[in-house]
């Protein structure tokens, strides 16, 4: 492909990905308020638009027009930089996520992915591991004890669970023999026994890895039952206690964008990515995989919300011992067994 159409398509893809991601973030918040509302036998947002569908737009306007308070005695450079760091790293990782097969537009073959990198998975892990700075620095620079405690908890929790998270993915990498997200998905195409899809969770017996990944991912995104960094009963709001208006909204966006990244990775690595029945005319054939991929992400986000409406919060020592004494050994055992099986079968 020439450089000019490449750049044009790249810019279009980046704009589209950002638009879709930010819209998805806004409507995940809406979905969460609706579903948690129904779990608690209330309606959730109903006033703004039909079914409260315009609530995210109203919230956005509110965030923009609210007074942007900067408390005295904060360390200003980092206080301002922290939400930017959090949201930038949360939004960047979407660039590595493939959402479907190649499509042909105007004679050009375009991969549905902003950057197809041969070490894509590692880069996603690298970017998400840098996201912790936003939370840690916001906690420290706010100069408030609740923020500091929230930031400390968050950094300790995220470092601890990153190890289990990384190890849970190695089994998938052994099976696929590649770090490219696209190749990992392609390795999972087809069926075995005629009808069971070749997904890693079934065919590669990575159900244990999947379990570890989901648990660690919930902790990495600071969601219930691992939302100790913002435990409101003890820490007010944790690391973002001192933030208001759009700066607070940036932490919010970062959290939901991270949830979506986690859901994308889970679908790509364990659930066959965008595989699914594809029929119909070419345009439908090109877009159906994207629909299957989005459906998996929706299910993941729904489970996230469902868990939030159902489970209580862990104690901090329970959180740490769960991560180090249960998830980590389980991930290592899964890794060893997968490696042994692959060596013996080949």
């Amino acid at each position: 492909m020439n450089i000019v159409p490449f750049i044009i398509f790249a810019v279009i893809k980046i704009a589209l990905a950002l638009f879709v991601l930010l819209t998805a973030v806004a409507y995940t918040v809406w979905l969460e308020r609706k579903v948690v509302g129904r779990i608690q036998n209330r309606w959730g947002p109903t006033r703004v638009g039909p079914f409260g569908l315009l609530q995210p737009a109203a919230d956005g306007v509110k965030f923009i027009f609210k007074e942007d308070l900067t408390p005295p005695h904060v360390y200003k450079p980092l206080y301002i930089a922290a939400p930017i760091i959090a949201v930038v790293f949360a939004l960047t990782s979407i660039a590595l996520i493939p959402v479907g097969n190649d499509v042909t537009v105007l004679g050009y073959t375009i991969p549905l992915q902003i950057a197809d990198v041969n070490i894509g998975l590692l880069i996603v892990l690298g970017i998400t591991s840098l996201g912790v700075y936003g939370i840690a620095l916001s906690g420290w620079s706010s100069n408030s004890k609740y923020s500091l405690l929230g930031g400390l908890r968050a950094s300790a929790q995220m470092i601890s669970y990153e190890i289990a998270l990384g190890l849970s993915l190695v089994g998938v990498l052994i099976l696929a023999g590649s770090l490219s997200l696209r190749e990992i998905v392609e390795a999972q195409s087809g069926h075995f026994f005629g009808f069971i899809p070749n997904w890693n969770i079934f065919h590669g017996l990575q159900i244990v890895g999947f379990f570890v990944y989901i648990m660690a991912a919930y902790a990495e995104t600071n969601r219930i039952p691992f939302d100790l960094p913002e435990a409101e009963t003890e820490l007010v709001a944790g690391y973002h206690t001192e933030y208001s208006a759009m700066k607070f909204a940036m932490f919010f966006m970062a959290e939901y964008a991270n949830m979506i990244t986690v859901a994308c990775l889970a679908s790509l690595l364990f659930l066959g990515g965008w595989s699914g029945p594809v029929v119909g005319p070419p345009i439908v054939r090109a877009l159906l995989p994207v629909l299957w991929f989005s459906l998996r992400i929706f299910i993941f986000l729904f489970i996230y919300i469902w868990v939030r409406g159902t489970l209580p919060r862990f104690r901090y020592d329970q959180l740490m011992s769960f991560g180090w004494k249960f998830l980590l050994p389980l991930a290592i055992a899964n890794l060893v067994i997968t490696a042994l099986v692959v060596v013996l079968v080949n």
């Binding site: 360390y75 980092l78 041969n118 070490i119 590692l122 880069i123 892990l125 690298g126 970017i127 591991s129 840098l130 912790v132 700075y133 840690a136 620095l137 906690g139 420290w140 500091l148 930031g151 400390l152 950094s155 300790a156 995220m158 470092i159 990153e162 990384g166 770090l179």
Partner: protein, 175 residues
Amino acid sequence: MISVHLIIFLIFGAVCVAGAINLLAQTHPINSALSLVVVMGALAVEYLLLGAEFVAAVQVIVYAGAIMVLFVFVIMLLNAGKEERTKGGSYVAMIVGIPGMLAGSVLVAWVLLTHSGTNSVAAGALPGSPTQLAPLLFHEFLLPFEVTSILVLVAIMGAVVLASHPNADQKKEKA
């Protein structure tokens, strides 16, 4: 011949050096730690440009994403304040130290470039993909690799021994 790779390499080299100087110049430990994160990130880009993509990713994940987070964590936990500078002597250090350091690094560079028998590495020349790196780590250099892991393990155990007080009652009395 100046390629785009070389220009980007030089830019990130400059970022790296600037981050390192900023690390020394800052008085607050958290600013120094963040400068070190910038150095790590710039180094990762340099590795990437040399073709060592796996090392670049590991540099970001391990150094910038885990070890430096621990640094920041410790600084936050201790709530370390501003560095106390000793008065006087710093001018002498500047006058003698900076030229001395420059002369030393030029000497080291000269020795490396003339006596090691290798020329500078071209962009993208290093074998850096995980499939090329794995046989090196787990076959050719297995023993050094394992010895290094054991060394790190010993250091961790030493840290645990130093940090744990066998007689906690004494500590309480002192406090």
